[in-house]
Amino acid sequence: MATDETARRRPNPRWDQMRRTWYFFRRNTLAMIGLGILIFFVIVAVYAPFYPASGTNLQEYTSSDGAPPSEVTSPFPVICTYQPGELPPAPNCYQTPLGMPSVVAPTVDLKTGTLGPLPFGSLTLSPSGTQLFNTYAGMVKGSDWSLTISVGIVASGALIGVVLGVVSGYFGGVVDESIMRLTDIFLSIPSLLLVIIFLSVFGLNVLSIDLRVAIIMVAFIVVWWPIYARIVRGQVLVTREQRYVEAARASGATSGRIVRKHIIPNSVYPVFVQMSLDVGTIPLAIAAIVFIGFHLFTVNTFPEWGTITALSVSQSVLETFILSCQTSASTCVIPWWQFFFPGAALFMFAISVNFFADGLRDALDPRLRR
């Protein structure tokens, strides 16, 4: 009994190390900024499921005679084309700029003169401009999805990678050789290409959105685990030779116990750094895939940050802009709100994750601490 008491009172060395890491991490201003932004995004993501979903779609209402649109009571904001200077025909009706019937800038709200129910403006989904998308609602809704997908992919990839890496590094021999050759193969293909091939084969014929999410996650996990396996194996090779492992083995610990109690806890720190880096990379990668031409998710039903960002600078947006510049210099307006808000959210997320990961690396690596 008494020995149990003392064991419980003795401070846990792992806990001590975490506090030390936090001490060094706290002194890094950029890392703390990154952590702050990340916490903000997590709060938004937690709030997202309670945000009314119906607000993501806008409908176009073309009326210049002042008759109020019939959907006044609907939760959808309505786009109306009416003469400048006149009163809007309906309370939830937003005027569009001349020559660009399908684009609503955030400052167009005539009712209050401030950023209204469309604080981030709208995004054109169809070339005819009849389908518009409420960027703000989409970003809020999408934070949930984006964070879940990224964290899910990274966590699963890291889990597979850690298991295989530990097996490979600890047991060595044929197992090690075959796992490492497998990672060689995966690391020799540009990962984006493999994900794209995977999606093009499995993703295009699937209509259900849940299955598509599952497919994109599987595609990324297939590509993502080898890097973790590599990192963990390298760490395990070092940890395996430590004195405390030798001591554990000498005192009769089984392989399973050594791996669980000594090898894994002491070789996963670099994985945390890599994981936090990758969480920021995945929305960017999804955005790139959508930009290339995979419209995997329709934004009105599945607003995902990468998809919104990619659509905001799609080919049609660029072409509309160039065309508007050709007809006359006065109509040459960059539709900045289309890509600024989604792009900024994606950028802030990725950069805060990077600051965080960099701070974590500096705090964990004693050679960089000094």
């Binding site: 093009s200 790139a288 031409g293 160039i322």
Partner: protein, 399 residues
């Protein structure tokens, strides 16, 4: 001599990697429905329906329960799809390793987009597109090295001072900004500066205008002032190497050669901006480690000027890490070309690949071909890096 043995040994290690990559691609493409593959390879509506005397039992039924088109039965045999999967795999491997990379499909989405490529051997088509990508990659790599090595050294020497923080912010923002977004900003800026009227055509970011100047020359309409001579537009120039700048130089068109280089600057900068972050961090961290080693202290103690210590003693020794990281990041770097070439409308391999997979039906010939090609590029880059590593650092034992 030992270096040669080392290179040959490394080359042997490359073989299983290539075979593995090909197998993975093969497995993925095998998951496609056979009807889709046939449609991609042969086209949907054959002009002359081929009608062999084949019973319905051999043709199988299509989705609506009718006897399958006999034309496709012929194609089934032509593509070897009537064999069992292992035999198909063996045939595919044999063909690929002997340089028969198949043909661009007759009915694939890619063939619809690039009519010139329809039915051509995949290797030939890749040969049209590869030089531009290689040139762009070399350009971007030069920018990356030129910026990240000095900047990394500086931020290590002035650690946690304003210059370190600034370089950190700049490099991380490059990492976090999606390349297509940055590319679009650049396009917006160019259009605003040049104006809509002078030379920027509405088809600038479109595909069709592009392939008139297939393989050798970048998009002409996109650039201001009509700088190109008229004879080039008619497509009468021959391209001995396929590399835009070199071809222009061979033809004595120095101005044109320079112009091609200038035109590559923006895409290369966009690519470089995204990759500098990775390299910069590694250069900084390895420099930090080297700066605390004994021989640097000795150099300082014996009175070597600080500038020389950083340049000669520490810089040389941290170079190894730099080279290794360049090799490691090459895979993600070259994969990003699909995006950049789509933004800027450049006719490189990345864009060819993007077409082959995003346009249905998928052109699996080009998918196979470009995957192998990208893998070879990455593997070759890693090999070169390893050899350089051994050459630069005499302490590295070849084995």
């Amino acid at each position: 001599m030992r270096l040669w043995i080392y290179i040959i040994r490394r080359l042997f290690l490359v073989i299983p990697v290539i075979i593995g990559v090909m197998t993975i691609t093969f497995l993925l493409v095998s998951a496609l429905p056979v009807s889709e593959r046939l449609e991609s390879a042969l086209g949907t509506n054959p002009k002359v329906p081929y009608t062999p005397e084949v019973p319905c039992s051999k043709l199988g039924l299509n989705q609506s329960g009718e006897c399958r088109n006999p034309f496709y039965y012929d194609g089934l045999k032509k593509l070897g799809l009537d064999q069992s999967p292992p035999v198909q795999w063996a045939i595919y491997m044999g063909n690929s390793l002997t340089g028969h990379w198949g043909y661009v499909g007759n009915g694939s989405g890619l063939a619809g987009q690039i009519p010139i490529a329809r039915g051509q051997p995949v290797l030939t088509v890749l040969g049209w597109f590869l030089p531009y990508t290689l040139e762009l990659a070399a350009f971007a790599l030069a920018i990356i090295m030129a910026v990240s090595i000095p900047l990394g050294n500086l931020s290590a020497v002035y650690r946690n001072r304003p210059i370190d923080q600034a370089s950190r912010v700049v490099s991380f923002s490059g990492f976090a900004l999606p390349p297509f977004l940055l590319g679009s900003f650049v396009l917006f800026a160019v259009v605003l500066i040049v104006g809509g009227h002078s030379g920027i055509s509405p088809t600038c970011s479109k595909v069709e205008s592009y392939f008139d100047f297939f393989g050798s020359w970048p998009q002409i309409e996109c650039f201001p002032g009509g700088l190109y001579p008229a004879w080039l537009k008619s497509g009468q120039i021959s391209s001995p190497t396929g590399f835009p700048t070199i071809d222009a130089a061979i033809h004595g068109q120095w101005f044109l050669s320079l112009d091609t280089i200038i035109r590559m600057v923006l895409p290369a900068l966009v690519i470089a901006y995204g990759t500098i972050a990775v390299l910069l961090r590694f250069v900084r961290n390895s420099m930090l480690e080297v700066l605390n080693l004994d021989f640097v202290r000795t150099a300082r103690a014996k009175g070597v000027p600080e500038r020389m210590v950083v340049k000669r003693h520490a810089g040389r020794n941290s170079l190894n890490v730099t080279i290794t990281v360049v090799g490691l990041t090459f895979a993600s770097f070259i994969g990003g070309f699909a995006v950049i070439e789509t933004v800027f409308g450049l006719n490189g391999v990345g864009r060819l690949f993007a077409y082959s997979v995003t346009l249905t039906p998928i052109d699996f010939g080009v998918v196979f071909g470009s995957t192998i090609l990208f893998t070879i590029i990455v593997v070759a880059a890693n090999l070169i890096v390893d050899v350089l590593y051994a050459v630069l650092d005499p302490r590295v034992r070849l084995g």
